[in-house]
Symmetry: C2
Subunit: 224 residues, 2 copies
C-alpha cells in the first residue's frame, strides 16, 4: 500500500482534524472540497487555506450542480435552516440527498487517477446519529461497491475508506486536533453563516461545536 491519500476537506472542524490525522500518519494528501451551492460558502475558503497550511500535494474544488439537490435546507434558499432542538429525532431537514455518496464517488475517481490507496473522511458519531450516509455500515457498503466497480479493486488493490474520527465526540476531536497542531481559527462549521463567515450560533452544527469546546475547556478561536 502506498502512502498517498485523498482527504475530503469541507473546511469544517472534523475534516480539518482528519487532514492532520492523515498527515500525521505519513500520508501525502490530495484534498478535495465541493461547491454544491451550499449556503455556507465561506467554508470553501477555509478548506483551501487549511490544505495549503497542511502542505497537501494538490487541492481540488469540485463543482456539483445544485439542481440535483433541490429540497434540502442546506442548498435550497427557500427553506429555513432550523435552530438546534434537543429532542430532534429522525433525519434532519439539512440532509442533502445522496451528498456523501457523491462526495465519495468523486474522491474515488480522484484516488484511482492519482494512485491513492486511501480516502479519509471526517464522519463521526454525532453525524451518523442523524445522517444515514455517515454510518459505519454505509462506509463499508461503499467500499465493497468500490472494490467491485473500479480497476484498482479488480486488480486486487482496492481503495480503502477510513473515518478516523468515527468513534469520537466533538470534545475528543478538538483535543486530538490540538495535539496535532490544527488551527481551529481557520475552520467554519455553521450551516448558515453571514457574509463575513460569522456563525449564526443557533444551528445544530454551531451547537455541537460550542459544546465541544466547552467540554474540552477551551475557547473557540473563531469566537475569541
Amino acid at each position: 500500500m502506498n502512502k498517498k491519500a485523498v482527504v475530503l476537506l469541507s473546511g469544517g472542524l472534523d475534516s480539518t482534524t482528519t487532514l492532520y490525522v492523515a498527515r500525521n500518519e505519513g500520508f501525502d494528501c490530495f484534498t478535495v472540497s465541493f461547491d454544491y451551492g451550499q449556503r455556507h460558502h465561506f467554508e470553501l475558503q477555509m478548506a483551501e487555506k487549511q490544505s495549503r497550511k497542511a502542505g497537501a500535494r494538490e487541492h481540488l474544488q469540485i463543482q456539483i450542480d445544485p439542481a440535483i439537490f433541490s429540497g434540502s435546507a442546506l442548498v435550497d434558499r427557500s427553506l429555513t435552516v432550523p435552530e438546534h432542538q434537543f429532542s430532534q429525532a429522525g433525519i434532519p431537514v439539512t440532509y442533502v440527498p445522496g451528498r456523501n455518496i457523491l462526495f465519495l464517488a468523486h474522491a474515488l475517481s480522484l484516488a484511482e487517477s492519482r494512485n491513492c490507496s486511501v480516502i479519509f473522511t471526517g464522519a463521526n458519531v454525532l453525524d451518523y446519529s442523524g445522517y444515514p450516509d455517515c454510518r459505519p455500515e454505509f462506509f463499508s457498503a461503499f467500499a465493497h461497491m468500490a472494490r467491485l466497480g473500479t480497476r484498482a479493486g479488480e486488480e486486487g488493490d482496492p481503495v480503502e475508506i477510513r473515518s478516523p474520527l468515527i468513534a469520537l465526540n466533538k470534545k475528543e476531536i478538538i483535543e486530538l486536533g490540538l495535539t496535532l497542531g490544527v488551527d481551529y481559527s481557520l475552520t467554519s462549521s455553521c450551516y448558515n453563516p453571514d457574509e463575513q463567515g460569522q456563525p449564526c450560533g443557533k444551528c445544530d452544527s454551531c451547537h455541537f461545536r460550542a459544546r465541544g469546546f466547552q467540554e474540552a475547556n477551551r475557547i473557540d478561536p473563531i469566537l475569541a
Copy 2:
C-alpha cells in the same frame, strides 16, 4: 412504488433504447447526461434531442470536472483511442476511473430529490466483459450501498437500479429498440468522432455497433 424514473442517457444506442424501455413501461422519465470532457461531445447533443423526442419530464446535463479523471484515453487527449482488437483482454484503456459510480451517484441524488423510484442504466453484456463498473454484481453492490446511505432507503423505499439490456447483445438491443420506435439516426456511439459527429469506424464502440446492425440485417441510419 411510483412510476417516476431517472434514466442515464449518454446519447448512444444502448441508453437511448433504455429510455424507450422505461417509457414503454409507463415511467415518467427524468434524463441525465454528463459532460466530463469526453472526446465524443457530439453524443450530448444526441442525448438532448432523444430526451425531447421521447417526451421526458426533464433533461439535465451535468458537468463533471475532468481533472479528476486524468489518465483515461476517453478524456485525456494526450492518449490515443485504440482501434478494435479481437483478442483484447483485461480492462480497456478507455476505462475512466470510477465513471459509472459517479454517474450513478448523481442519478441517485436526482432520484431522491425528484422522488423517483427507479434509476435505469443501459449497461449490457458487451460492456461488462471489459468494464468492472458495468457488471451485475457491481449494480447490486451500488443498490445496497444506496439503501444504507439515503433517506429513501432508511425510510424503507430504496431507489431501485434497473439495467433492462444487461443480458442482451447489440443485435438484440437494436431489434428491441426498433420495435419501440427508437430513431437510431439520432444516436452516437463512437469514442472518437470528428467535429461533425461522424464516427471513426475503427474503435471498439464502432465495431460493436456495426456488427449489431449487420446481425440484425439492418442498415445503420448514421451511415446511410
